[in-house]
Amino acid sequence: MVNEALLWMLAEGVYDTLYMTLVSTLFSYFFGMFMGVALVVWRPSGIRPRPVLYGVLDVLVNLTRSFPFLILMIAVIPVTRLLIGTTIGNNATVVPLVIAAAPFVARLIESSLLEVDSGVVEAAQSMGATMPQLITKVLIPEAMPSLINGSAIAATTILGYSAMSGAVGGGGLGKLAIMYGYNRYQTDIMFATVVLLIIIVQILQSIGNWMTKRSDKRIL
């Protein structure tokens, strides 16, 4: 049963899954970072309270997060086609993945930044820190271990979404599992893809844990 073609297929599945996960995570962090910082800065107790903007952003994030991923994927098909030109394949899957994951990442970032002691922020303000300085030199560096920890959670969650996308035109291990395991009853292939997914999640999480611990100067 184990032949070279099958192994290549699985290897390609792993590659596609990693590609989608990585690219989506990067884009989600790009957008999520702005939203997460805004949620912290604009909140009523934040450094620049903007209750209305905060309220709008808060609801928007909740709205996107309450969409089941599969429904969202189908709902954003027009956007995907507009941006990528097609609705199948790795790059096409990145679009709904980012739309679904960015608000999630925003929440992760928000909760990490909120862990920073308000006294430290205040001390920096007392030294004449400007708004951008507070964000880039206090909030983000002080929250770094927690942010790294969050990024492992984000990456593994996005990996899970990417596998799900196999059901509606996405590639990677999820597609293999559905194509062979579900449609053709080849449970051994489905089993192999699941094991591979587990291994990838384990590795991502371990790297995350290791980097979190290494970056944190509070526990030496």
Binding site: D117, V120, Q133, P141, R218
Partner: protein, 334 residues
């Protein structure tokens, strides 16, 4: 006399939440002279923190004015405020160091904010860490330092930008007595050596006695008494002041009538003073409390006495005290 470096004029801070409003400060006016160590003392919730935080606009006053070197802090633009804040250092009860930065990087931080080149900042940090006695801990992280050491780093950091004023909000409240003394000594040393004006917020009279020249007593958001530490110690005018100068935690002034506070020079003369008084006036006194204090570098003994409920006896004792030039003041309000 030169213009006070800090002038607080009729300051008011009102907190509005839901349907209640709290006046944390009301009609507070203080002048703080250049080079002074000015203490502000009061109970928890009196408004001490709010008051210092209004000086560097961490808290926006809702009325009145704060002038620092003649400039009204309330009217500064954001950019001007950032610059003004660099001439005022602040230290906190919880130290508030950046936990992900080393000692040296913490001290360099305000310089980095001000755009000082890195090598210059490092040089300045080395000087300051030398000054606070932590030269060998440059590479340590805050989590590796004791509370006293953390506060020293915080002091070095607050001094990095050469401020004219140092604001201390309960800077020693999280430290043990010995560490408190060493940190207070450091603050005093900085004041004399660098001429920095220091504002000390505390709820402990001992802190005021050790380093301050002037003191203001704050209660429920208003200044109830202020003056030199000697003035307030020898002639407390208000109930709050009396309670503070006796001793923290002593409830004696609230319980009992005919309480008198006896003050005299020196440390070792409790027994003769009281023995003579008892013999000469033929009176049985009840010693409620006694201790010695260092005020302005001089030792004073103080005793809280309860006299019999007999106007004639009390008059006799007062006359005796006057003749012997002892300071004896009634403490209870009847």
């Amino acid at each position: 006399m030169a213009e006070p470096i800090i002038q607080i004029q009729n300051l008011e801070k009102r907190f509005v939440s839901k349907n209640t409003e709290v006046y944390a400060l009301r009609g507070v006016s203080l002048d703080i002279e250049q080079g002074d160590i000015f203490g502000i003392i009061g109970k928890s919730g009196a408004g001490k923190s709010t008051l210092v935080r209004c000086i560097n606009m961490l808290e926006r006053p809702t009325g009145g004015a704060v002038l620092v070197e003649g400039k009204d802090m309330c009217r500064l633009s954001n950019a001007e405020l950032c610059t003004a804040r660099r001439s005022m250092g602040m230290i906190f009860q919880q130290f508030n160091l950046l936990m992900q930065r080393t000692t040296e990087e913490n001290v360099c931080f305000p310089l980095e904010l001000a755009g000082v080149p890195k090598h210059e900042a490092k040089k300045r940090a080395a000087e300051l860490l030398q000054l606070v006695g932590l030269a060998e801990r440059v590479r340590s992280y805050p989590s590796q330092l004791s509370g006293g050491q953390k506060q020293r780093v915080a002091i070095a950091r607050a001094l990095a930008t050469n401020p004219k004023v140092l604001l201390c909000d309960e800077a020693t409240s999280a430290l043990d007595p010995a560490t408190t003394d060493s940190v207070l000594a450091l603050i005093k040393d900085i004041n004399t050596r660098l001429g920095i004006t220091v504002i000390v917020i505390t709820h402990e009279m001992s802190v005021i006695e050790k380093i301050c020249n002037h003191v203001a007593i704050i209660n429920r958001g208003t200044i109830v008494e202020s003056g030199t530490v000697e003035e307030v110690f020898f002639h407390p005018k208000t109930e709050e002041a009396r309670r503070l100068v006796i001793s923290e935690g002593q409830k004696t002034t609230e319980s009992g009538k005919n309480l008198f506070r006896l003050l005299f020079n020196g440390r070792s003369s409790f027994e003769p003073v009281i023995a003579n008084l008892v013999r000469e006036c033929d009176v049985a006194v009840n010693i409620m409390f006694a201790n010695t204090k260092d005020i302005g570098g001089q030792a004073f003994g103080q005793m809280l006495l309860q006299l019999p409920d007999d106007p004639e006896v009390i008059a006799r004792v007062l006359a005796y005290a006057k003749a012997k030039e002892l300071s004896l003041e009634e403490m209870s309000n009847g």
